[in-house]
């Protein structure tokens, strides 16, 4: 390899990481600004609370990263989270099923639904957007056929998961954080160190080339929706730990937060380029916006949505800038 191609390869690689770098800087600046402006902001627990409050979003966004890396999109995740909370609450609370049976069942249902959507997308060549939209309608509708009202959970397993504090020196985290971090680690290894992960990137780069190279396109494409389905079901389980209830209106708009986290984390929406850890940073940015707004006190919650929208705008422009330069 000549020095020239090596250098251009290096800058190209570096350019792909620019959005993630920007996100890291943004995170540090936001945290610094918060620490200067508000008393009690500068503490490890505030950072850990970010994870505690956003564990389910983190897991869902991890699944979404896989789908977006292949150039697809999954709009059903928020509804799948809601359906998972609903099924859990219904079976545990109203039918007395043991949680150890219900949780694997919910995960299986989520994975199955994801695989089914992936199968329809691949087999019939229908846009992912419309298939997952139908999945979203179906899942939300099923929530309401179970019950229109919220079902609260009083099962001891769930309440202990909600209340347990795992000490970390003087600070603490919840069991959900451990599960979410484990999910991130597993996804990171799967995406960056396995054949499946490389196929995901290849498929996002060019489906046609992947077919010609003999990669298992069908398995990969259906697989990422399965991963996303599993992650949203797991997100739903974590949400039942957090909310201690099942409700058809849980996680409304979560799909948008997940997409926003992936984009802010620097993953290209056209697929093929991005990092899982970028998504983690993206989730932390979204969580920090909420924290700042709650510390501010005078700002209303709808500012969160406006700020997220503005951030999305900036990062998408940044992506366009970087990709168009790369092409020319």
């Amino acid at each position: 390899m000549s020095t020239d191609t090596f250098l251009s390869g290096l800058t190209r690689r570096g350019r792909g990481q620019i959005p993630m770098l920007v996100t890291s800087v943004l995170l540090v600046v936001m945290f610094a600004a918060g620490s200067v402006s508000y008393d009690g902001f500068l503490s490890g627990q505030v950072l850990l609370n970010l994870l505690i409050d956003n564990a389910f979003l983190l897991v869902v966004a991890v699944g979404m990263t896989f789908v977006i890396l292949t150039g697809g999109i999954d709009l059903s995740v928020g509804a799948m989270v809601a359906l998972s909370t609903m099924i859990s609450a219904w079976l545990v609370q109203l039918h007395g099923w043991p949680p150890l049976l219900v949780i694997p069942l919910v995960l299986a249902i989520g994975t199955g639904a994801g695989l089914a959507m992936g199968w329809v997308i691949h087999t019939f060549e229908i846009q992912p957007f419309i298939v997952t939209l139908a999945g979203m309608f179906l899942a939300r509708g099923l929530c309401y056929t179970i019950s229109i009202d919220s079902i609260s959970i009083t099962d001891p397993t769930y309440t202990s998961m909600a209340q347990t504090r795992i000490p970390l020196g003087e600070l603490f985290i919840s069991p959900s954080v451990l599960i979410a971090v484990l999910a991130v680690v597993v996804a990171f290894v799967a995406l960056h160190y396995t054949r499946f992960g490389r196929n995901v990137y290849a498929l996002g780069g060019s489906e046609q080339s992947s077919v010609l190279m003999g990669l298992p396109v069908a398995r990969t494409k259906i697989g990422v929706y399965g991963v996303s389905g599993f992650c949203s079901a797991l997100g739903g389980v974590l949400m039942t730990f957090y909310m201690l209830s099942g409700y058809g209106l849980h996680a409304v708009g979560l799909e948008l937060d997940a997409i926003a986290a992936v984009v802010i984390g620097g993953t290209l929406l056209t697929g093929g380029s991005g990092y899982l850890l970028g998504t983690v940073l993206g989730v932390l940015v979204l969580g920090l916006i909420q924290t700042v707004i709650s510390f501010q006190g005078t700002l209303s919650s709808w500012w969160t949505r406006i700020v997220i929208g503005a951030l999305l705008f900036v990062f998408i422009l940044l992506q366009r800038l970087l990709t168009s330069r790369r092409r020319s």
Partner: protein
């Protein structure tokens, strides 16, 4: 006959209407009371008018191969602006106040649509993402305008837009009909429709033959936003209030559904305004049916999901090819189908 593109949407609509007859025997009855038309059919048209408008704009966007997710937020913003202006004015009942309110709502919608158009046509962001920004931020903006409250207004001229009657017919029906008529004249009596389909079919080729693709794409997002704003005015006028959180919630999905049911392909390149109107009426009838039969309204979503999937499967060339092969009984094993290149009339 079955080959006509409006055939299947019409069949579905008629079947749905007839199904209602089984539950409500006087479903088709239309009465005149106090000089106003009443009846289930009128209700469907009346409550379906905002959806028809939004779906109309969406059809033009989809014809160019795009999608507009921000219409729901635009509905909420337009409703919030209009109601805020009327509620803060000294004379809420005057025609001038209402006209100013309508102008403000439409003007802001014009800007929002133009912003979407610039993002898609000039900067080259995927339509679903470009409009996602406004979809996320727009609801926040709407709540900012209403200060998180539900603004109620009492204004006779404003009430007319969505809840009033004119010549015994609900005004919203007339308004929607006028817009549909105008749009179909512009797209079918002039070359505009053809140009839109050309851009949707292949933007690069269109640009090379001298069609201003960017301008046309920008235009459809503006039209879509204006239609959404008009729908927002209708919705808020009908309930005499603006709710930043719930006005137009999920209407973008219903609109996309209406377009798809109407036979317009999501891939762009062809569209049918008549199909969209039929599609919107199918969805409104579906909602009405669910209400009248007494199923919890929230479960409408399940029916909608089934409709979306069925319609998409029927539209999918691969599905058609597979179904046709099965019907003819000829088994070709796993021979790959070059389906993306198959042109199948929708």
């Amino acid at each position: 006959m079955t080959g006509h593109r409006l055939f299947w949407p019409a069949v579905v609509l008629i079947a749905l209407l007839l199904a209602n007859l089984a539950f409500t025997p006087d479903f088709f009855a239309i009465r005149v009371r106090d000089g106003h038309l009443y009846g289930s059919l009128i209700d469907i048209l009346h409550f379906g008018s905002p959806l028809i408008l939004v779906a109309l704009g969406m059809t033009l966007v989809i014809a160019t191969g795009g999608i507009d997710l921000s219409v729901g937020s635009t509905v909420a913003i337009a409703a919030a602006l209009a109601c805020l202006h009327i509620s803060e004015s000294d004379d809420p009942g005057s025609l001038g106040t209402v006209l100013t309110a309508v102008a403000i709502a439409l003007g802001v919608a014009l800007l929002l649509g133009a912003a979407n158009g610039v993002l898609v046509a000039r900067i080259g962001v995927q339509p679903i993402i470009a409009t996602l920004i406004l979809m996320v931020a727009g609801r926040g903006v709407a709540q900012l305008i209403t200060d998180g409250q539900i603004i109620t207004v009492t204004s006779e001229p404003f009430k007319l837009i969505g809840g009033g009657y004119w010549l015994t017919v609900p005004f919203s029906i007339l308004l929607a009909a006028a817009v549909v008529l105008l749009a179909s004249m512009l797209t079918r009596r002039t070359a505009l429709g053809l140009l839109l389909e050309s851009v949707g079919g292949n933007p690069v080729a269109s640009r090379l033959v001298g069609i201003r693709a960017a301008g046309l794409i920008g235009l459809v997002y503006v039209v879509s936003a204006l239609c959404a704003a008009l729908a927002g005015l209708m919705i808020s006028s009908n309930v005499s209030a603006a709710d930043g959180n719930n006005a137009g919630l999920w209407i973008e999905l219903d609109a996309i559904l209406a377009v798809v049911v109407g036979g317009t392909s999501l891939n762009g390149g062809r569209f049918s305004l008549g199909g969209t109107v039929l599609g919107a009426l199918v969805i409104q009838t579906l909602s009405t049916t669910v209400y009248t039969i007494g199923i919890p309204p929230e479960t409408t979503l399940v029916f909608k999901a089934v409709v979306v999937i069925t319609v998409c499967l029927v539209q999918s060339p691969v599905f058609r090819a597979k179904a046709a092969r099965r019907r003819s009984g000829a088994r070709h094993g796993n021979r790959p189908v070059a389906s993306k290149k198959l042109e199948v009339g929708a």
